[in-house]
Symmetry: C2
Subunit: 333 residues, 2 copies
């Protein structure tokens, strides 16, 4: 039976969001190992009347890596819920690990406990982005602050295979995030990355600009260094919030607008749901030796539930094996 | 009398948007030199009944640097409207130059014709960003694809002085665009830039994340390398377009939403006007030896008119002298 390890100690909403998300995800077809303070977890679970409690395991991990932990503290604690959860995957006691905690700590511990996938220089976060043509992914969403040129190729290969597996599209199109569509536009490293992608990826369509990320462009996988990727993703998240706040603010100014907002509310909700990280639950860290998902610190129980379903689905579909096969295939060519 | 040089050959809307923008900006208190194909300009002007035609000068420049010019072509043509317009500034025949053309060409020719401001390593574009707390600026919006660590300091100094002059706020707050608020977060170059900004800018507030760009954070000037800055600015432009397209699309699905959108339209227009580059007309290239403004290729005549008024205002207020004083003051400390 599929087994998912969930770090319950992380996230802004605390242990409740994680445990409630886990409980409401259950349908008897998979197991969830809750990793964290045993006593706290037991207390919560004992209050639950969930009919699938037999699908829950508890793994004790007494300490938490905080969101503002120093870099030196990220991977030093073997009792942390992140380290313990990843160890379950390492020892084949879980098929995937999910945490909505410190993404730097999850990244560092994933490298330490699981290591990199064979043939991969650096793992990257594959983050979904809604566009006018449907979903895209951006990789790397911020696992690595600095990228080397070979990382771009590995992000492209991992991202394309992931997109193919999850979004069921054969030979997804790969674009390089840059500052102009011409091959001559870019900074030093993207100019080099362009050449490598062009040489190695038959579905490479060239540079795409920031506006193209969400616009009508035929691209599925957008490759970026983690710094640019992270700033970009957070910037569009911020702008969506600004527009929403402005809509509410402006509609206060007169009755017509107030009524308008009321009538348009279901549409706005739908749009913002598409923009919302919670719909996807968590994003995969691609390129480590195992399935690892990282959720937004703001995740509520819904997001955690979705994350568990995403992970279960990926295990079902042998995502990890297809990623490894894809990389092996490229290396042997 | 103040004299503004305008490149009329550039932009998606062609010569008309530029000339109409220039004509409608006139009030007899300043001159505009239209730089471009003499005959084309004369034709247009002869059709005009504008009462301030005596405020117009025509400077012949027969060639245009196209938007997809190769890097080698950017600064090779002395007959281009960009080169000729900048030469007017260089020779004190104009107080500022405006173009909605190829920003790479404007940048390259500005360096060639005007040179850098004393004490400045690299010039940068200062782009306005609306936030929940009012206007901010981001510098560099894309003049330089690669940044050296000293560039960040110069962007900060230029940006702060510009913000102070234009937005009338003493000692504006400076933030560094990065991937986490802690000083330890960032890529190699922003980690170094952090230290230099902390040491040299009393109003440096530290790192700000992508979400903070438009959110409720006490920052006025956001410093970034041009690559990240450009991708970020274009990404939020793209997302704003996506939300608008989605609103229209969703509202088609039912009558209530359609009526809602209709009632909310004035508010939406107001919000999008704030997000719109046209409101600002053009952004300054700070750090070159003269006032240079670059507009969006999509600029219409309104944007050109606003750009001219912005430039006139800056000349009035001695923006260039105050920028130079600010840099000199820092160098002598």
């Amino acid at each position: 039976m599929i087994k998912i390890a969930l770090d319950v100690m992380a996230g802004d909403k605390g242990i409740d969001a994680n445990i409630n998300g886990a409980l409401s995800s259950l349908d008897g077809s998979f197991m969830v190992s809750l990793v964290g303070d045993k006593n706290l977890i037991r207390d919560k679970i004992n209050q639950s009347k969930n009919q699938f409690l037999q699908s829950i395991n508890v793994i004790d991990a007494s300490s938490v890596i905080s969101m503002d932990a120093k870099i030196s503290e990220l991977r030093s604690d073997r009792n942390s819920s992140i380290y313990q959860g990843l160890s379950l995957v390492k020892n084949n006691n879980a098929d995937a690990f999910i945490s909505i905690g410190n993404s730097g700590a999850i990244f560092a511990n994933s490298l330490k406990v699981l290591g990199r996938m064979q043939g991969i220089s650096r793992p990257g976060f594959a983050v979904p982005i809604p566009s006018i043509n449907g979903m895209r992914i951006l990789i790397d969403g911020g696992a690595n602050a600095d990228a080397k040129v070979e990382n771009y190729l590995h992000f492209a290969l991992l991202g394309a295979q992931y997109y193919e597996s999850v979004f069921k599209k054969i030979n997804p199109k790969i674009g390089l995030l840059s500052i102009g569509s011409e091959p001559s536009k870019g900074n030093q490293i993207t100019l080099e990355a362009y050449k490598i992608l062009e040489k190695n990826c038959p579905n490479f369509i060239g540079n795409i600009e920031g506006t193209d990320l969400t616009n009508d462009v035929d691209v599925d996988v957008v490759v970026s260094d983690g710094f640019t990727g992270n700033v970009t993703l957070k910037s569009i998240e911020g702008l969506a919030e600004l527009i929403k706040a402005n809509l509410i603010q402006e509609s206060q100014s007169n009755l017509m607008a107030k009524v308008g907002l009321l009538l348009l509310k279901p549409s706005i909700k739908k749009i913002y749901k598409r923009l919302d990280y919670r719909q996807y639950g968590a994003v995969p860290l691609l390129g480590v030796n195992g399935l690892v998902y990282v959720g937004h610190g703001k995740s509520d129980f819904n997001a955690v539930e979705n994350a568990i379903h995403t992970a279960v689905q990926s295990v079902h579909e042998n995502l990890f094996a297809s990623l490894q096969q894809s990389i092996d295939g490229t290396r042997n060519n």
